[in-house]
Structures are given as structure tokens and as C-alpha cells.
Amino acid sequence: MQRIGVFICWCGSNIAATVDVKKVAAAALNEPGVVFSADYQYMCSASGQGLVKDAIREKGLTGVVVCSCSPRMHEATFRKAAESCGLNPYMVEIANIREHCSWIHKDVAEGTEKAVILMRAAVAKVNLNQSLVAGKSDVVKRALVIGGGIAGIQTALDIAEAGYEVDIVEKKPTIGGKMAQLDKTFPTLDCSACILTPKMVDAAAHDKIKIYSYSEVESVSGFVGNFTAKIRKKARFVKEDLCTGCGLCTEKCPSRKTPNEFNEGMNTRSAIYIPFAQAVPKYAVIDPAACLHFKTGKCGLCERTCDAKAVDYNQKDETIERKYGAIVVATGYNVIKLDNFGEYGYTENPDVITSLELERIMNAAGPTGGALLRPSDKTHPQKIVFVQCVGSRGQRPCDKPYCSKICCMYTAKHAMLIREKYPDTEVYVFYIDVRTPGKNFEEFYRRAVEQYGVHYVKGQVGKVAENAGKLRVYGSDLLMNEQIVIDADLVVLAAAIEPDESAKKIATMLTTGIDTNNFLTEAHPKLRPVESATAGIFLSGVCQGPKDIPETVSQASAAAVKVIGLLAKDQITCNPCVARSDELLCNGCSSCEKVCPYGAITYIDKEVNDHGKREVRRIASVNEAVCQGCGACTVACPSGAMDLKGFTNKQIMAEVDAICR
């Protein structure tokens, strides 16, 4: 039997005006287990808490009920107070007689009656409370960042700056991601590389950051504070410790026909290559699919050329295992494939390009050295048509239902840059809506229209067809209510962006949520935007949803803060109100496992002793560090083997009983 103390707070007149606190205190003494009751003006004050503490010590209380404001306000306060004098904090329950009673009722009799009932329910619950001890688990003081784009780099830098180790795993040979491919950034028009590459160098140089480029995460196990990841380092065929990144090999390489990924395939690279001049880490890598040595066994020119003796044709993939306390997913995005958009003729016409391709064309390090030349005949285009919302906001199978968010702004940027550099060029932008919610965004767009004379046409393009060396663009001008036809030299498609294909695999690996568009789901859309629903897994950048660079960077830093907050702890205190499986009742049906959003339940074969009968049974086992205590499993379990500590079936039923009594 418990020895329960009931403490009724007046909250000044907030409670006392509508609830006869003395009456509640007197009624409490009639409840089973209650040995003491008291009322006080401000129970949360130091002296109010003192009252509670004294009673715990003097009356030997084993449970405490505080009838006061919402537990969301002061549950923690009173639990702490109880703990300070040796009572398990989970033996304290709050009856909310302010927000749920005194504030919403005017009649004192009514308010008092309800307060008594709420008190009773809390007492009934405490009678069944058990001391709960929060589990603790050690935190590995190292974070893993999956993806080395601007999101991953920023997160890693921020974590490293706080003094924790970070590993970046990037599947490409260099970090930098999409931002490295961009020419200029909106709305400031500063050079993308100029702001990104210093960060890349910082990351590489940071003693707390380790970059695993050309590597992929194969599997992750464990839980918050204690993950184990297997990372596969793909064979580069170049020894990283020896390669100086001089690039001589890439010049000598006789196989030069491979489309250059970095330039979106608009020019070619050698079989041994360095993705771009500012690559980090700057090591050459051999593409075995293109390399003559791998194809024919001959050649070996690079090996001979390399003074550092870095080339190693026999290198194998290597898998390493590392422990982490936290994981940040920053897998980024890709431009969607345009194979199914026949109307724009992207696959047939070299002069129909994506915006990302245009970025490369405009870039000084790009395939044309920065000159705006159309791909087919390398002439300067006189008329350029930009098409917005290609594959975004649609409902066809090839479309994405969401807005890709960045296209309006980068198209304005492109249009503006072209008009500035080549004032003789006519630029048309077909748009459905122009969306510019961002600092200085609308001003930027207006400048494109007003200052640079870009023709914005409200309407969509229906068809692009090759016509006498030009591209005939059929579009509609809805404001004119006309179909217009433009013979353009170049058509630029603002193709939708989608999460990188690795996101889905990684989400499954990390048991974190993913939405129908394969964007990873945040724990709460408003309040926990950079956390995933799985503890210890954080989201950074476009893997969570379309974002521009400033948003990505701020989210990256936010994710870093969450990671730092986690890694700063030596141990994590787990929520003790977690599910618990009664191994004698569990029949191994797996229903609970199916509803657990965190993958906290696993099934194990265990020998149990059922009243002397020993047998191996398949039973559910809850990882308390992973369980967040939602209770979904408890209802899925037909045998009642699964219960939730702190909110057990019997406790809740006791509350129900007390209320309905």
C-alpha cells in the first residue's frame, strides 16, 4: 500500500476562486492510500515545494499527488523536488485543477466537485505507480554525416567546431555536391565556388573531420548515442596517401570519351580523373568502366606517369566499421529525369537543356569556358525560352506533386545574368506562378523584369519542336488569352528536383520515416524540423524537402546544434516511460513489432521459466533506449503482454474507474 500525500495549490486565486481547496484536501484523506493532505497558496514556490519535501520526509510518503496547474507547467518541478528528498520522481502525479478545472468553470460547487474527481483519479493512478528508473546509455562522441554537399559540410563544420569528431561519408569522389556545380547564387549573384570551396577546404583541414569520399554507408545498427555504421570505401585504384592531386595522369590518360558528370555530360573526361579542379579531397580516381587497363589489360600509362606511385590497379573495396552517437542525413537531391516529358523534346534536342546544364555552360570552368553557346552548334543563342515547373506541381506519373521551390529564383538569376552579359539576347520565361518568398527575392525577380527586360509570360509551354534549326515553342499567354509561338535558339527547362535515390535506402536503414515523395520525414513539421522521428537521427538539407542554399545552411546548422546537444552528454537519460514486454505472456505474434514507429521492438528466442516449465520461446524485446513510449504496441498486443511503464493498463483503468465512480 502506498503512503500518498496530496497537495492542493491555490495558485493565488487562480484555483482557489473556483475550487474549495480545503474541501479537496479533506476529501483526499478519504482516498485509499492517502495519509496526508495540505493546501498552500503557491505550491510551486520554494516554500510550497518545501511543504512537499517536508511531508515526504516526515510522513514517509511513497507517492505524491499535486493538484495544481497543468503537468506541462510544473510536473518537472515537483518531480525534481521529490527526487531531491529521495522519492522516485515517477511517484509524483499532477492533477490539473487549473487549466482543466478552475479556469473553465465559474461555479464553486461544480469546480470543487470536479477537482475532487481529478484528485481521485491522480491518487488512483499513484496507488499503482512504481518507481521508474530512467535507463542511461553512453554516448559515443562522434557524429556521422551522410552526404557531403553544402548541407553535410556545414553540419560537419559546426559539429567539429564544437569539438566533436565528425565523419562525412560522400558517395562521389569529392565533396561539394550540387552547390559545387552552380555558377552564381541568388539573390546576391556571388560566385558559388567562391563561397563553397573555402568551406570544403575547411572541412578537409579540420582535425575533427574525417571525410570518407567515394564511400557509402552500408548498414547502421544500434540506437541513439550508440550507432554502429558499416562504411564501404569504394576502390579508387589510387592510393589516397600517395596521390598528390597533380593531375598529370588525367592529362596522359588515352581514354577520354567518358561523359563528364561534373559538367552534366556536356563534355568528356578521362578514365582516370579528378572531378574538378577544387575537388576535396583532391585525389585521382580511376573509372574502371572506361579504363583501358581494366578493359584490355594493356595501357598502364597512368601508373607509369605517376611519380608518387599512387596508382594501384589491385585496390579493393574496403569496409570499415565506426561507432557514432548521432547521424545526420544530408543526402541531397537530383534533377528528375526528363525522359517522359516528350513535349519538351529534351531527349531529342541538344538545345533543350536543364537549368543545371545551363549553370555549367555559364560557368567559367564549364564545357564552354563560360561562354553562352548552345550545345548543338556552339553558336550564341539569340532567343532563349525558360520553362518553369517542368515536372513540379503535377499529377501525372512522371510529375512531382510538390513545388520544387528553387526554380523561380534561379530562373530569374539565369535570365538576369544572360541579359546582363548578352543584352542582345531575348529571354522569355513561361511561368505559372512566380514564387519569391525570401529575403530580397521579390526585389530580385522584379529587377529581372524591370531592369533587365526579361519577358515573363504567364502560361505554360505545351510543345517544343525542332523547326529549321530553331526550336519552335508553343506556349500560352493567359493574360493575352493567346497561344504564342516563339522560334527560340535555346530552351531551358526548370526541372523538378527529387531526393537522391539513396534516401529511401538510408531511411529504411535508419528506421526513420519517409514520405510518398521519398523525402525524409521530420519528427514534427513545426517544432522539430531537423530531427527525424528516430532518436539520434537528424536531417539536413534537401533530403527533408526542397530548399535553397540559405535555408539548407540554416537547417544544417540547426541539425548540428541538435547533434552537439546530444554529444555534449556523457550519457543519455532515457525516458523511463517505455514499453515493457511480459515474457511469460508474449506469444511472439509480431503485432507490436509491426506498429512500432522506431523499430524498438525486436523478437528474440529466449528460454523462459513459466512456472517451472522451461522452454525457448520467441518473445518481443523492447530496446528501452530506442522506445519513445507512444504505446501503439500495447494496443496491438492482444495478450496484454506489452504494457507501457508510467501509463500501464491498470493505471489508466484506475483513473477511468476513479472518474466514473
Binding site: P32, G612, D657
Partner: protein
């Protein structure tokens, strides 16, 4: 011997009900069970067997025995025992009537079950001869005459009439109150009745279970029976439900349970079944952890333990309800035959 026209039975029920409660087999949702008679009740004296036996009238499935009342922090206890009012149970078959003797031997032996006793004292049993015995009946094996049932009053259907024969003082007292409805039977009636009884006997003689050799069970070799290998195969298909025990007229085990009403506690007893895993559950667990052990308990009790404690009387009246109701068709007949029959 008295008689009443079948078509006047409703009047008879009403007349009995005027003075005391009348239990009679009634159809509710398509199933006959003993129920308190009231105007418009669907009385069913045709169906041979009620689902639950007549024992329910004296030993209800649930019965309050005490209550605890909470006032502040004080608890007061009150017995729920009260004297029963007079009542009549009508339409009891010979086998069910015999089962009362078996229940008596348990409940009325020291210590006396006062709840049961008061009902037995105040209850008048009107039996009814079985006009149409069925294949599952084997009352004859226990020396029960289904054509000539016992009870305070025995009744018989023949032709247009129900014949009425008071057998005890209780029976005579009740009969007196019904004089206006009952006529005296003539010689012709007696002939008709005799003919009817003869017919019943003839059919009974043809029942497939008419001959059931119980001699094996009379032998005093408890341990041999207990340790027999045959239990395993017999019990294999038992699903451990309590259908047999709850329809059985002689099963008398009950559990005492408490129900928290919120403002007090109700202590009640309710039928229990030795087929259940938690039967006689104790702190260390159940004494009979396997279904075979529980199965064996039931039949050892009926055929060995009870007779050895009660002058050789088996705790079975051959009503055949278990034969009919077992979902898997396992029953006492199979047990009797397996041990004492051809398989031996």
C-alpha cells in the same frame, strides 16, 4: 393421479406464479433454458434438454455471497445470504432431478452450503417424464428411470393431458393450491399413461448408449486408472473450454471472486471449470499444468473420486448434455468405453 389439459398449462403457470416464482424451460433467442415464467414466456416442454441443466435454479452460475462497503476509510462487511422465498421448478427431467441428490451430497454435507440449502428447502421440484429420449441419453446406466421421474411432483405427457402425481409433502402442498385447475385422472387416463410409459421404456431400450458398462469404474484401483496411458490420447483433442462443465447437472465447482464496484466490493461465486488453465490456481501456479491432467481430473472426479467419497455414487446422471455440446465430441461416454469397453 391428477391431470390437466395441455391447453390449460398457461393457466397452471399463472396460478403457480401468483404465489411463488416459477422456473420453467423457456426459449430465449432460440435456445431452451430454465427461466422465470412470466406472461408471454415461450415455454418449451418439448425440447428434451435445456442447454444449462436445472441445477442453475439451486446453484446459479453467479451468486453474490458478501459485500464490502467503503465509507471514507472504513470498510464494513455484509453477508449476502438471505432466506430464499418459495419457488417452483417445473419441467425437470429425471436425470436433472437425480443430479440434485448428487449436489446435495456435496453442498448439504458438512460444512453446509447455506446458499444452496435455503434454495433446496424452498424449492418444489416438478419433474417431467421424457416422452422422446434421444441418442445422447444414458441415464439408464445410472439406474434412472426416465419414464418415472422422482421429485416433489412427477408429471407425464400423454395424449391431450399432462398427468400430475404429487410425491412428497411439498408436492402435495403445492397441489392443494392448484386444485381448481387439476382434475382427477380416470382409469382410462391411467391406461393411457401406462401405455406412454411403456413406449418410453421401449425407446429407451433401443438407445445406442443403453448398455454402458460401468463395472471397470467400480473396481478400487485408483492409481492404476490415474496413471493410465489412455488419458493422453483421450484428451488430445480437448480444447479446454468449459462447455461440458457448464452444461453438466452435477458439476459443482465454483470460484469466489471479488468485483470492485468503485464504492465497494462485491464478493460473488461463479461456476468454475476444471478444464480451465486457472482452475484452483495457486501462488505457485496451477496444480494441473497440462490439459491431459485437467481432463483426467474431470473424469476421475466423476467416476472415481466422487463415488469413493459418496458410497459408490457416480457423479454423472447420463443426461448426455456433454455428449451433445462438446465442440470436439469428446465426452464421458468415450472415457467410460475406452477404459471399460472393447479397448480394454
Amino acid at each position: 393421479m391428477l391431470k390437466i389439459k395441455k391447453s390449460n398449462l398457461d393457466k397452471l403457470y399463472a396460478a403457480i406464479s401468483e404465489r411463488q416464482i416459477l422456473y420453467v424451460p423457456c426459449n430465449v433467442a432460440g435456445k431452451p433454458n430454465f427461466a422465470v415464467w412470466g406472461e408471454g414466456a415461450d415455454v418449451d416442454l418439448v425440447s428434451l434438454k435445456t442447454v444449462k441443466s436445472a441445477k442453475e435454479v439451486f446453484f446459479p452460475q453467479c451468486e453474490d455471497i458478501a459485500s464490502f462497503r467503503k465509507e471514507g476509510k472504513n470498510i464494513s462487511v455484509k453477508s449476502e445470504h438471505k432466506e430464499s422465498g418459495d419457488f417452483v421448478v417445473f419441467g425437470v427431467r429425471a436425470c436433472d432431478c437425480k443430479s440434485f441428490d448428487i449436489l446435495d451430497s456435496v453442498f448439504l454435507a458438512d460444512p453446509v452450503d447455506t446458499f444452496y440449502k435455503t434454495k433446496r428447502e424452498h424449492g418444489t421440484v416438478i419433474t417431467l417424464a421424457c416422452s422422446k429420449p434421444e441418442e445422447t441419453c444414458f441415464c439408464s446406466a445410472f439406474g434412472i428411470d426416465n419414464a418415472e421421474p422422482e421429485g416433489d411432483i412427477a408429471t407425464y405427457f400423454a395424449g391431450e393431458y399432462l398427468y400430475w402425481s404429487p410425491k412428497t409433502e411439498k408436492g402435495l402442498n403445492l397441489t392443494k393450491t392448484l386444485n381448481s385447475l387439476l382434475q382427477t385422472a380416470t382409469d382410462k387416463d391411467n391406461d393411457a399413461l401406462e401405455k406412454e410409459q411403456k413406449k418410453i421404456k421401449e425407446i429407451t431400450g433401443r438407445l445406442p448408449l443403453y448398455v454402458l458398462d460401468l463395472s471397470y469404474w467400480e473396481a478400487d484401483d485408483l492409481l492404476e486408472k490415474f496413471n493410465s496411458e489412455k488419458w493422453k490420447a483421450l484428451s488430445e483433442s480437448c480444447i479446454g473450454c468449459g462447455a461440458c462443465t457448464f452444461v453438466c447437472p452435477t458439476c459443482q465447482c465454483y470460484d469466489v471472486r471479488d468485483f470492485d464496484k468503485g464504492h465497494g466490493v462485491q464478493r460473488y461465486r461463479c461456476w468454475d471449470s476444471c478444464m480451465y488453465k486457472d482452475f484452483t490456481m495457486m501462488a505457485h501456479g496451477t496444480p494441473r499444468p497440462t490439459q491431459m491432467q485437467r481432463f483426467r481430473q474431470r473424469f476421475m472426479h466423476k467416476l472415481v473420486y466422487h463415488p469413493s467419497n459418496h458410497e459408490g455414487v457416480f457423479s454423472c446422471v447420463g443426461c448426455g448434455r456433454c455428449v451433445e455440446k462438446c465442440p470436439m465430441h469428446i465426452n464421458i461416454v468415450k472415457v467410460i468405453k475406452t477404459f471399460g469397453g472393447d479397448d480394454k
